[in-house]
């Protein structure tokens, strides 16, 4: 085995390892950055009332749609209130509500809290099951001690 050959082997190995390391480092960096920046915390109305969440931070708000709180406006805008029975947050949303959105049922909305304390949602989720209460909502309600559901 000549020296020159050994060098190329070494170089090759270094190139391979270097490339692999670079790609993995980029991937890792992206993941860490995104985990820091792009994840959305779930909050119940009580969390929002108590915790002072900075304005403009994206959160997920979950709870029950308060009975009788749904108002519809022109241009597909709706207003409703989300409650965990202890506290209540007003929400506005423009768009089409999911099929299973109903007063008194669980809901998860995603968006930001506006200056007036009204939650501006750009996404409303209700799961595709007639008995569904979103898992986070059920947990939050359990914390409030108001939940006597089945095994969910």
């Amino acid at each position: 085995m000549t020296d020159a050959f050994a060098m190329t082997r070494k170089q090759r190995r270094l190139t391979m390892i270097g490339t692999a390391g670079a790609v993995l480092a980029v991937a890792l960096g992206l993941v860490l950055f995104a985990l820091n920046d792009q994840i959305v915390f779930f909050q119940s109305p009580t969390d929002i009332t108590e915790k002072q969440i900075p304005q403009g931070q994206r959160i997920r708000l979950g709870g029950l749609v308060e009975d009788g709180s749904l108002e519809r406006f022109d241009d597909a805008r709706v207003k409703f209130r989300v409650t965990d029975t202890a506290n209540t947050i007003a929400v506005t949303y423009t768009g089409i509500l999911p099929d299973l959105f109903r007063e008194g049922q669980g809901v998860v909305t995603e968006g930001v809290i506006g200056a007036d304390g009204v939650f501006v949602a750009d996404n409303v989720l209700a799961k595709h099951d007639e008995n569904y209460i979103p898992k986070e909502v059920a947990d939050a309600l359990k914390e409030q001690g108001h939940w006597q559901g089945g095994e969910q």
Binding site: M16, T19, I96, D99, H128
Partner: protein, 663 residues
């Protein structure tokens, strides 16, 4: 009697799977012909038994036999025939039975078409397939038995979840399962090779058709699932980075990596250990996907099937299979002979690059999928990791990969010439630049990324064409000879080019449908008109209609272009009466590769209604591209079928070393 016969067949299949798990593996380790010979017949018997079982359940569904608990829970006598059949796998128990059926079906395929495999490898592979079958048959019988009976059967069933009463359900899960479960074969091959302590180029070649087959079906399954969600959920989205979607996407990424690394192994006998690891990972991710979907640990838009007891069982299965195979890997892999190193600029170098990006992307998706679960388990904090996370991590990793795709096939093995390769790709690069400029001209400068995305997609597409053209030297040898050379190209070359072209098509669809989509959300009264991307859509009114097992309010819309009617759409809001469950049926009109998408909200007082209107340019390319990818895989498989010249069984028995291999 039919139901009970199906139940017995399932039990018998389980007992056989235990024997299959022990005898042939033992035989393979001892090189004992007699014990190895058991593997294939037992595998085939198991397949027929599970088939009988599946058929029995289907008959129960067709006859509305509500003495079967599963039928009572998920069917209804008034359900249309097609949904009685698809309802068989529209629920937890039935879909697992289908899972197992496909598992043993793949085993049977190996048993029947594996004549070219050396007996020890075949027996050990089937034996390992037996382990997986035994685990899942036990899971079925212990926690999810579809044949549980009700002594005093009710007179009517609970009906199938209406969201699943759709032709999409007929197609999507079976395809997805064939893909998921197909990778069990590569897993079994890998574990068998580790057990026997021998992995070489021949191994890679034997595994390849199975990997391709599974990959093709997984591609189709994911794509159909995406289309199904697109038109059935009525949200206008085609991919939500939902954990259930990720669960099917991760095996796809790992499987794609496996497909490429196996080529290196076959041609150069390198990357052996890595390929075996990928084979294990791919199926592990399939199992993880099954676990995530079946255990109900997720909050996701796919909501059927949740049960903690089952979750625990399948988690244990998952740990045994993944933990066991990785331990075996850690123990045996160092004993395997390492392959050689190679030049970074070469075909194999580009394939390694492909593997790097694909596995890194797969890892990013895995982190995004599991992080919320882990965080909640550890700190109790609840978060959601949504599209922004995946767009930021997955997206950037795909860009360099797509840039590199056209280079791979034009580089030579061992030592490639990057400059020569680049020169060959000038044409593709030119076309891509032209398209970028054209897009800028069409849409203006406010979106910078989108035209670049279009350029990247076109680069991949044209690159695939260039590869074929240069391979046959189409322009050098003249068109007539060139075309005859085209026919002579091996199927695998066609497969590569077609699949790469498909990737470009899908990417183009994603970029245009995302960046140039036009969306309007508004309340419309009869007579109102809304305009999207130059199409005027007029709302005529809404009328009730009665379906076989639902009531619906149907909106009537007329689409005009320059005052001329081009289509009428009838999107609706349905209420399925048995479960009192509403669904939205979108109205979709396809124009070329683009679509107009209409979905309805709640009707308001009077006759007005909330409407969401989209124009989605070139969106169908997303699914067409994936179809093209699957076609590419079929080309590749066809090539293998022709060219893997198996020694005929007779020839093998005589084992004459210089016998001409049958072709």
């Amino acid at each position: 009697m039919i139901v009970e016969l199906g139940h017995f067949a399932l039990v018998l299949a389980f007992v056989l799977s235990l024997i299959l798990s022990v005898v042939p593996v033992w035989g393979a380790l001892k090189e004992d012909e007699k014990m190895m010979s058991v593997a294939s017949p037992v595998t085939v018997s198991m397949f027929f038994l599970v088939l009988i079982s599946f058929a029995a359940l289907t008959v129960a569904y067709l006859n509305s036999d509500f003495s079967v608990e599963n039928v009572w829970q998920n069917s209804h006598s008034a359900k249309p025939l097609i949904y009685k059949i698809t309802g068989v796998w529209g629920n937890h128990e039935g879909s697992l039975l289908l899972w197992v059926l496909i598992l043993v079906f793949f085993g049977a395929l190996v048993a029947i078409f594996g004549g070219n495999l050396p007996a020890p490898l075949r027996s050990a592979t089937l034996g390992v397939q037996g382990w997986v079958s035994a685990g899942f048959l036990l899971f079925l019988l212990a926690t999810s038995n579809p044949f549980n009976r009700i002594p005093n059967p009710p007179i009517e069933g609970n009906d199938l979840n209406p969201i699943l009463q759709d032709i999409g359900l007929a197609i999507h899960p079976p395809l997805l399962y064939v893909g998921y479960v197909g990778f069990s074969i590569t897993f079994s091959f890998a574990v068998a090779a580790l057990l026997l302590g021998r992995i070489d180029a021949a191994w890679a070649r034997w595994v390849r058709p199975w990997t391709l087959l599974a990959w093709a079906f997984l591609t189709l399954g994911i794509s159909m699932g995406s289309y199904w969600a697109y038109y059935e959920l009525g949200w206008g989205g085609w991919w939500f980075w939902d954990p259930v979607e990720n669960a099917s996407f991760m095996p796809w990424l790992a499987g794609t990596a496996l497909l490429h690394s196996a080529i290196v192994m076959e041609k150069r006998e390198a990357l052996k250990i890595w390929t075996v690891l990928l084979a294990i990972f791919t199926f592990s991710l399939s199992l993880l996907g099954t676990f995530l979907v079946r255990s109900g640990v997720l909050t996701s838009v796919h909501a059927f099937a949740t049960d903690p007891a089952r979750g625990t069982f399948i988690l244990v299965l998952l740990c045994i299979f993944i933990g066991g195979s990785l331990s075996l890997y850690a123990w045996r892999a160092p004993l395997l002979k390492q392959g050689g190193l190679f030049a970074p600029i070469s075909r194999e170098g580009s394939l390694v690059l492909n593997n790097l990006f694909l596995t890194a992307a797969c890892a990013a998706v895995l982190v995004g999928t599991l992080y919320p679960l882990a965080l909640e388990a550890l700190t109790g904090e609840k978060i959601s990791v949504g599209a922004p996370f995946f767009n930021l991590t997955f997206g950037p990793l795909m860009i360099p990969l797509l840039m590199a795709v056209p280079f791979g096939p034009v580089l030579a093995w061992k030592r490639g010439d990057l400059l020569a390769a680049t020169q060959r790709l000038y044409a593709a690069f030119g076309v891509a630049i032209l398209l970028v400029l054209f897009t800028f001209w069409l849409w203006g400068m406010e979106r910078v990324l989108a035209p670049l995305g279009v350029g990247l997609s076109v680069w991949v597409m044209v690159g695939a064409i260039v590869e074929i053209v240069t391979r046959v030297k189409l322009f050098e040898v003249g068109l007539v000879r060139g075309f005859s050379r085209l026919k002579g190209l091996p199927g695998s070359a066609w497969g590569t080019a077609i699949a790469h072209f498909g990737i470009g098509v899908t990417a183009l669809g994603i970029v245009t449908a995302t960046a140039f989509q036009d969306e309007k959300v508004l309340t419309m009264a009869p007579g109102d008109t809304v305009s999207v991307s130059g199409y005027e859509i007029t709302f005529d009114g809404i009328a009730p209609r009665q379906g076989p097992n639902y009531r619906e309010d149907v909106g009537h819309f007329v689409i005009r272009q320059d005052g001329i009617v081009i289509a009428e759409l009838d999107p609706s809001k349905r209420l399925y009466t048995a479960r009192q469950m509403p669904t939205t049926e979108a109205g979709i009109h396809t124009i070329g590769f683009s679509q107009i998408y209409l979905s309805l909200g709640e009707p308001r007082d009077g006759a007005s209604i909330d409407v969401r209107v989209y124009f989605k340019p070139l969106i169908t390319l997303i699914w067409i591209g994936s179809l093209i990818m699957a076609v590419g895989a079929v080309f590749s498989i066809a090539d293998r079928r022709l060219r893997v010249g198996a020694p005929k069984p007779a020839a093998r028995r005589q084992a004459i070393p210089d016998a001409t291999p049958a072709e």
